[in-house]
Amino acid sequence: MEDKNYITIIDSNGMEKRVEVLNYFTLNSNGKDYVAYTENQEDANGNVIIATSEVIERPDGSIEFANITDQNTLNEIKNVLFDLCK
């Protein structure tokens, strides 16, 4: 059942990664969709690394997990993560 939450993403070099989707949400402030996921990898301190991206549908129909550059949006997403960590 856990496999159900896994998807495959591909980097610019064509390398595929299997990642676990943690949640999928929309910010009320801009109506855009975001995803939080993880490769279940740990950093040097033993913390689990998670990533967030904006979900964008390109004109050719492909999906991109895009970088989030707007600082206000990043702050909002941090708040979402904090809210869900409580």
């Binding site: 159900k4 939450n5 998807i7 495959t8 993403i9 591909i10 980097d11 610019s12 989707v21 943690l22 949640n23 999928y24 949400f25 929309t26 910010l27 009320n28 402030s29 969709d33 995803v35 939080a36 993880t38 950093d43 301190n45 033993g46 913390n47 689990v48 690394i49 998670i50 990533a51 967030t52 991206s53 979900v55 549908e57 129909g61 492909s62 999906i63 991109e64 997990f65 895009a66 970088n67 989030i68 990043l74 909002e76 997403i77 941090k78 708040n79 979402v80 993560l81 809210d83 869900l84 960590c85 409580k86």
Partner: protein, 276 residues
């Protein structure tokens, strides 16, 4: 006395309907008999017009009132439905906890990604590191929060659906009540007319049954027309054919008995039939 030929007279005058014939007692017609008969017909016609107009106006006002009420009800229904639709949308979005975000069903993401290439760039990732316990709590909350939202959304949906059904039922009942009320009011309408700048309740037109046996509009109109035609033809005969005019006048005086005209309109000259 020349025997009366009713058919000839009717053809002559085009006045077929209301001449009552006896021939037993003779009267002459006063000078303004025809005029008065026309005036009476005009008066009666005016009353009938007032009656018809009053009814039409009352019906129009009632219909307008009913339409206005129904339009208000329809507006209310539409406003309620809009409000419910907004609520429904918010519930669907899971936006029931008044937060700056709302969680979506991950399966929606899978559907969106189905058979599509998902690209990313290393530089495009926004990374965070979480202690394992926090990470586990994060996963748990993500699942539970969404489950709670979903459950709440389903509950809210049911409430909204019930609310819509209640509102529709309530409005339907009110519209039905309004219709019944309007119908009752229409049935209770007492025709009125304006007289001397006062609105008075309409009294049934008292049509002189010797002049007009029935008080329908068309018959009154027809009688009026016939009266005018009669006067016109009499005048025409008087000018163009005195012989026919004389014959007509003799026939008129011989065929109207006391039941056919008011005493005010005629001058009794005696039973000339027996003297001729």
């Amino acid at each position: 006395m020349k025997p009366y030929n009713g058919k000839d007279l009717n053809n002559l005058l085009g006045f077929k309907a209301k001449i009552i014939l006896t021939g037993s007692v003779l009267f002459s017609v006063s000078k303004d008999f025809i005029k008065k008969i026309s005036d009476k017909a005009i008066k009666n016609l005016s009353n009938v017009n007032n009656f018809n107009l009053g009814n039409k106006l009352d019906n129009y006002v009632e219909q307008s009132t009913k339409d206005e009420l129904l339009e208000q009800k329809i507006d209310n229904i539409e406003n309620t439905q809009d409000a419910l639709a907004d609520t429904y949308h918010n519930v669907n979005a899971g936006n029931v906890f008044n937060k700056s975000y709302y969680l979506k069903n991950i399966s929606d993401l899978y559907m969106r990604l189905e058979n599509k290439k998902v690209s990313y760039g290393e530089n495009g990732l926004n990374r965070y590191s979480l202690p394992k316990l926090v990470f586990m709590q994060f996963k748990k909350n993500s699942i539970n929060t969404f489950s709670n939202l979903k459950e709440t959304a389903i509950q809210k949906k049911d409430e909204v659906i019930d609310k819509i059904a209640d509102v529709k039922e309530e409005v339907s009942a009110k519209v039905s009540d309004i219709k019944e009320d309007v119908v009752a009011k229409v049935n209770d309408i007492k025709p009125t007319r304006v007289e001397d700048n006062k609105t008075v309740e309409f009294e049934k037109v008292e049509v002189n049954e010797d002049v007009m046996k029935e008080d329908t509009y068309s018959q009154i109109l027809n009688t009026l027309k016939q009266s005018i035609d009669c006067r016109s033809k009499l005048e025409q005969y008087r000018m163009q054919n005195p012989r026919i005019y004389k014959q007509v006048m003799e026939d008129l005086t011989s065929v109207y008995d006391k039941r056919a005209v008011d005493d005010d309109f005629i001058e009794e000259v005696g039973p000339r039939a027996s003297s001729r």
